[in-house]
Symmetry: C2
Subunit: 321 residues, 2 copies
């Protein structure tokens, strides 16, 4: 430990664990909910509601991101986003993140600094901060993020409350991250709008607590594809979600790119993951804010249907990867 | 998904992600603090104090455990224990665990079942449960656990409150896990008492909240060795921890094993990690319960001393591994 700023070329192995921790912690400023931040055995976070919402999600290099496709900042933002989206999908306001990082000793310090910056930036977008973590060596990079949230006196909005007659609506983009991944997979780096949708999702964070205040009966984060998430709600609630195909029209950018790649833009919208839109069910007569797009209606039965026709396999076997 | 129980020989890759999740979740019963358990976007945990203590720690196969030395249950217990110990080291009562698991598709289901059982058993020892998690594929096994806790109205006991004149005391074993690791490293599997100390630590969980109630001024979990942890307290509190060498006499079992292996039992006691004893500082005149063993006194200065002689390097560079 010296007074000289460390080069980003320095590796984690050269710097040692305490040095890496010091570098990372310096990038996480104190935030309002953090009563005690990084540096002790554990952090202390405000939980004014008396209940805390908590979730954890992992990103693995080579499976969830590639260092030649995404910058370290991108990976940090994505790791934070997918966890923050899970918190707001309960109707809660995020209050803190923790990060557990396993990375090879050869990893440059610059990469870890970027990861920390990405986590901090995405957390700041919802007014929270990174309050703790752990770092250790491993063969490949594994980023496990935990997010906490506060319900502000409201009941958590689960997947299990949808009732027959409820409206089904979505807030946020569908298919963009999947289209961006398709672009990268074919060896292209543009259009930037699609590629960035894969690199760093933009979940509509404040729509989660908004849905809770509006009286949403069910709410879920669309991380694995719309039809699959709709099937989760249907199963948990004991109902059928009947969606209108006309409401699932791909955005123009997706149609154009699908034509160029010979791909199916409808598949991106219906089964593409990682945009972290929010899918909600709401009482029948509720007037929803404009950003919530009506998708269909909750009906008797099971599973998911499109214009009344059952959709096969939504939410069935998911490859272990 | 069938009605037939799955063989433990089934691999994660064969079972698919949802199948693995269902298998694991079935092993995590509801517990009192879990207002909403696994299966939704996030869990909801009671935080009656209005503040939540939270920490995360990672275990990596080949670095923190070996599958030929530790059973899956052992790994689960150890992963839970090191996080629960961090929670009690703030003076808090653990309320919930979450687990993020990355594992190769070839991993047998039986191993993951064992890991889940170990996590559940260790959590049950402190009256909490596993409320959520994530599972994904990776080249090596990485287990990232997050633990939550409740302060029950008391101030968190940090590393920073030790005052000159305070007594220094420890609760729990020192050097046993390190001795067990030395035994395994030399190719032996016994004595069982030492080997088990490495495989599944037994932190004195209730001593953490007890220390908080007794008015501890500083508290830390001994995960990286006594002298290193004492140095953390000294640095955070701006004091010196003066320990008595006579109070650091190795237990008879350690002396006997060190003689057999040609090792130094004093080094195990002073620098061995992973037993998760609790090191605390307490007001001078407090009568401590018998299980808290007096180690020394907080004095003016910096760092750690043994019988007044400065100890070099305590808490300095830690290898990145």
């Amino acid at each position: 430990v010296t007074g000289t700023p460390l080069s980003g070329e320095t590796t984690l192995g050269e710097l040692g664990e305490l040095g890496v921790v010091a570098e990372v912690v310096a990038r996480f400023p104190a935030t309002s909910h953090a009563l005690l931040g990084p540096g002790d055995d554990a952090a202390v976070v405000a939980a004014p509601d008396g209940r805390v919402v908590v979730t954890t999600d992992v990103l693995v290099e080579g499976r969830h991101f590639r260092r030649d496709w995404s910058s370290a900042v991108d990976v940090g933002r994505k790791a934070a986003a997918q966890n923050l989206a899970d918190v707001v999908a309960m109707g809660a306001v995020p209050t803190a993140l923790l990060v557990a990082l396993a990375a090879p000793p050869t990893t440059p310090l610059a990469w870890v600094r970027g990861l920390a910056d990405g986590l901090r930036e995405e957390a700041a977008a919802v007014g929270c901060g990174v309050v703790g973590g752990d770092i250790t060596a491993a063969e490949t990079i594994v980023v496990a993020v935990t997010a906490l949230g506060d319900l502000a006196g409201l009941a958590p909005v689960t997947r299990a409350g949808a009732r027959v007659g409820d409206q089904v609506a979505v807030c946020g983009r569908l298919g963009w991250a999947e289209a961006g991944l398709a672009v990268l997979t074919r060896g292209f780096r543009s259009p930037r709008s699609l590629v960035d949708a894969h690199r760093r999702p933009s979940p509509p964070y404040d729509a989660g607590p908004e849905a809770a205040r509006l009286g949403a009966t069910a709410l879920i984060d669309v991380s694995d594809g719309l039809l699959s998430e709709a099937a989760h709600v249907a199963r948990a609630s004991g109902v059928r979600l009947d969606l209108r195909a006309a409401a699932l029209t791909p955005d123009d950018e997706l149609v154009a790119m699908a034509r160029a790649l010979g791909a199916d833009p409808d598949a991106w919208v219906r089964t593409g993951g990682d945009d972290h839109a929010l899918l909600g069910c709401f009482p029948p007569d509720l007037q929803l804010p404009a950003r919530w797009r009506a998708l269909g209606t909750v009906r008797d039965g099971a599973g998911v249907s499109l214009d009344g026709m059952p959709v096969d396999g939504a939410g069935g076997y998911r490859h272990y990867g």
